[in-house]
Symmetry: C2
Subunit: 385 residues, 2 copies
C-alpha cells in the first residue's frame, strides 16, 4: 500500500435517544447558532429535542440552508455570527446543512478578504469556529470528515474545500429521524455513499487488501440495505446500517494508503452547478460513462469489483466488465435514480460547456492517474446522452 | 445494531521514512522521555532515526520495558518522570512498550495513592501526560487505542485499564522496522490481532453488516498475509498489510454497535500471569476450548464465520462448526503457535487456580452474555489440556 496519514477526531454518538448528549459536548456558556435547512427537523421532532437539550445555552436559530448549499445564504449566517459573537455552530440536518456550517465556521474567521477565495482559490483555512452536527439524513459523510462543498448561485459554480479545522467536534447520528425521509432522498443517499466508495476504490490495485475489503463491505451493504430502506425508510435497522455505511464511506478510512479518483465528482458538480440536478443523480449519470471510456485502464479493479461485489465470475474479461457496469447501472435505476442525461433534459451543449470550463480552469488531467482529460469527460458524458 | 459512541483521535503516520514526522507533533521545548524495550530498536535503526528527529528536544532515555510490561519497571520510569519534570512520553517499540508508556503517563499524574489501583481497582484516570508512539511490531493495536495491560511480578497478576487520556497523540507505524523481527514474534502478532477481532465478532448476530464485514475483512487478510510474513518478515507489502490489520483490529471501530466477548483475554491473561506464556499463545490455547464449550450459544456466528472466512459451505451445522474450529486451530498451528496447555507444560492445577481466582474476584459471568462462568472456563481449559 501507499504511505499515508490518517486522522479523524470526530466523536460519534449513534442510535436512539442520543440528542441529549450534545449538552455535555458544547462548552458551558457558549453562544450557539443552530443551523438547519428547510424545516424537516420540525416535522421529525429533532428541532424540539435539540432545543430541549440546549435549554441552558443562548441559542440563535438560522434556518433555510438549501440542498447544494449556497454561498450567498451561508454569508448571511456569517454576518449574524459576527454580530452576535457566536461561539459554537450546531448543524442539524443532512450533509448540505453540515457543509454550509463548515463554511460558515471558516468564513467567520477568515481574515483575507472574501471567503469565496477559500472555495474558488483554495486559500488555506487558518482557523474556524468549533462545530457539531446532528445528522438526520444518511448520504454525504460530512458528519465525520473535514470536507465541504458549496455552490454560488450568482456564477453557477460549485467548489469544495477541506480543512482540519472543519472536523465536527461531535456528530449525533439519528437513524430514526431519517425514517421520515421521502424515498427519493433515501435513494440519493444510497447512491451518494456508493459513489464515494467507488471514488476511493475503483482505480488500480496497490496490494491494500484491508482497504479493498472495507470498501467492498460498504458497497455490498449498500446493495443489500439500499432497496430495503428505499421501500421503507422507517425500517430502523436498515436505516441504521445505511447511515453507518454512508459515514464510513467518506471518513478517510478507506482512502488511507490507496489512490483515489474523484473525477466523477468533479464532473457531477458541474451538472449540479449548471442544471441544479441532485448531487447523487449527477454521479449516477457520470459513473457509467466514465467507466465505459476508461474500462481498459480500470480493468483490474472493475474485474475485482464485479467478482467480489456482484459475484460475476463467468465470461470473458470484457463480458465481466460489461456485466459489472450494467449491474451498477441497474442498481441505481432500481432506486429510481436515472442514469442518462436525457432523463434530466441535459443535451450536448452542456457537455461542451463543461469541457470548456475544465479547459479554462486548466483541469486537464483529473482523477485516477490523471486519466480524466477534457476529451475523456466529453466521451463519458456523450455515452450517457 | 446497538447504540454506540465512537471516538478515536490518534493521528497515524504510516509507511516508509515517517520518523521525522514526530518532531512536528511534540510541542516545542517539551522534555521528552523516550521509552523502549530490550534494545531491538538499536538493531533496526529506529533508535538513531528517532534521536535524529528529536535533536532539538531534551530527551531522557528509559529502556528495558519487558514483554508483558511490569508495574515494577513502569514505576521506576514514573520516578524519573517526576524528578526530571518530563512533559511528553514517546514509546518506541511494540505493544508492550506502548502499554507501559500509557500506564507511566497515567501513574505520573495519579494523586490518589498507589497507581496500582488504576489496574487492580479500576480507579478512574483523571489526567495523564501526553504520549506518542513509534510502532515497530504489529500485534496489539495499542498504537491506536486507549487500552493498556500491565503485569505485577510480585503478585503474578495481570490487569488492564482504558482511559480517554491514554490515546497516543500520534503513532508512527513502520512496517520496514518490523522486517527484522524473528518469525515467532510475527506469528504472535498475527494471532493476537486475529483473536482481537474474534472477541468483537464471534458473539451473536445483531444485524450489523458493516461491522461484521469489516471484522471478516481483517480475519481474511490475516489468514492471507500471516503465512507470508511468518516465512519472510522482510516482505514489506505483506508486513504493511499485517500492521494495518492489527491496528484496525483493536481501534474501537469493529466494536462500535456490536456485543463483545473478551473472556478469551481474561482467561489468557491468567496463563501469562502464572506461567509467563506469550500473550498470543494463551489466546490460541483458550479460543478453541471456549468455542467447544459454547458452540451452541455461539452457533449462528460460528456458522457465518465458517462460511465467510473459511468458505465452509457443506455439511450439517455441527460439522460446519467443527470445521470452523479446526480451521482456526490449524491456522494457529501453521504459524508455530501451539494450542494445547501441555505444549506449555501447564496442567490441571493451573486450571483450578484460575477458576478459584475468578471466583475470588467474583468474576462469575464474563464475556459475551455473561456466558463464561468459572465452570465454562474450567471446561474450556480442560478441552485443551
Amino acid at each position: 500500500m501507499k504511505d499515508f496519514e490518517f486522522y479523524n477526531p470526530v466523536k460519534i454518538f449513534f442510535g436512539k435517544d442520543q440528542v441529549p448528549q450534545i449538552a455535555s459536548q458544547i462548552p458551558a456558556g457558549n453562544k450557539v447558532m443552530l443551523i438547519y435547512g428547510g424545516g424537516s427537523i420540525y416535522k421529525n421532532g429533532v428541532y424540539d429535542k435539540v432545543k430541549e437539550a440546549l435549554k441552558e445555552f443562548n441559542v440563535t436559530d438560522f434556518g433555510g440552508i438549501e440542498p447544494n448549499p449556497k454561498y450567498e445564504t451561508a454569508m448571511k449566517a456569517v454576518e449574524i455570527v459576527k454580530e452576535k459573537k457566536i461561539d459554537f455552530l450546531l448543524a442539524v440536518g443532512g450533509g448540505s446543512v453540515i457543509d454550509a456550517t463548515k463554511f460558515i465556521a471558516a468564513a467567520a474567521c477568515f481574515e483575507n478578504g472574501d471567503p469565496w477565495k477559500i472555495l474558488k482559490d483554495s486559500e488555506v483555512v487558518k482557523s474556524a469556529l468549533p462545530l457539531g452536527a446532528v445528522l438526520t439524513l444518511p448520504a454525504t459523510g460530512s458528519e465525520m470528515n473535514k470536507n465541504s462543498v458549496i455552490s454560488r448561485k450568482s456564477t453557477s459554480e460549485k467548489f469544495s474545500f477541506a480543512s482540519p479545522y472543519s472536523f465536527p467536534r461531535f456528530s449525533v447520528l439519528l437513524p430514526d429521524a431519517a425514517g421520515s425521509l421521502p424515498p427519493n432522498q433515501v435513494a440519493n443517499g444510497v447512491v451518494d455513499a456508493f459513489v464515494h466508495v467507488i471514488e476511493q476504490y475503483l482505480t488500480y490495485p496497490v496490494d491494500a487488501p484491508i482497504q479493498d475489503r472495507f470498501a467492498e463491505a460498504i458497497l455490498i451493504t449498500l446493495i443489500e440495505e439500499g432497496p430495503k430502506v428505499y421501500s421503507n425508510p422507517s425500517d430502523y435497522n436498515s436505516m441504521a446500517n445505511l447511515m453507518w455505511s454512508a459515514t464510513m464511506a467518506l471518513n478517510g478510512l478507506i482512502q488511507a494508503g490507496v489512490p483515489g479518483d474523484w473525477s466523477i465528482h468533479s464532473i457531477g458538480h458541474e451538472l449540479t452547478a449548471l442544471h441544479g440536478i441532485d448531487h447523487a443523480r449527477t454521479l449516477a449519470v457520470t459513473l457509467p460513462g466514465l467507466w465505459k471510456v476508461l474500462r481498459e485502464e480500470k480493468k483490474l479493479k472493475l474485474l475485482q469489483y464485479g467478482q467480489r461485489v456482484w459475484n460475476i465470475t463467468t465470461g470473458t474479461e470484457d463480458e465481466r466488465v460489461d456485466a459489472a457496469i450494467n449491474k451498477t447501472t441497474e442498481f441505481f435505476e432500481s432506486l429510481g435514480i436515472k442514469t442518462h442525461l436525457s432523463d434530466y433534459g441535459v443535451k450536448q451543449d452542456t457537455i461542451d460547456k463543461i469541457v470548456s470550463r475544465f479547459k479554462e480552469r486548466n483541469w486537464l488531467e483529473l482523477g485516477d492517474r490523471g486519466l480524466t482529460t477534457p476529451e475523456v469527460t466529453k466521451k463519458a458524458l456523450e455515452y450517457q446522452l
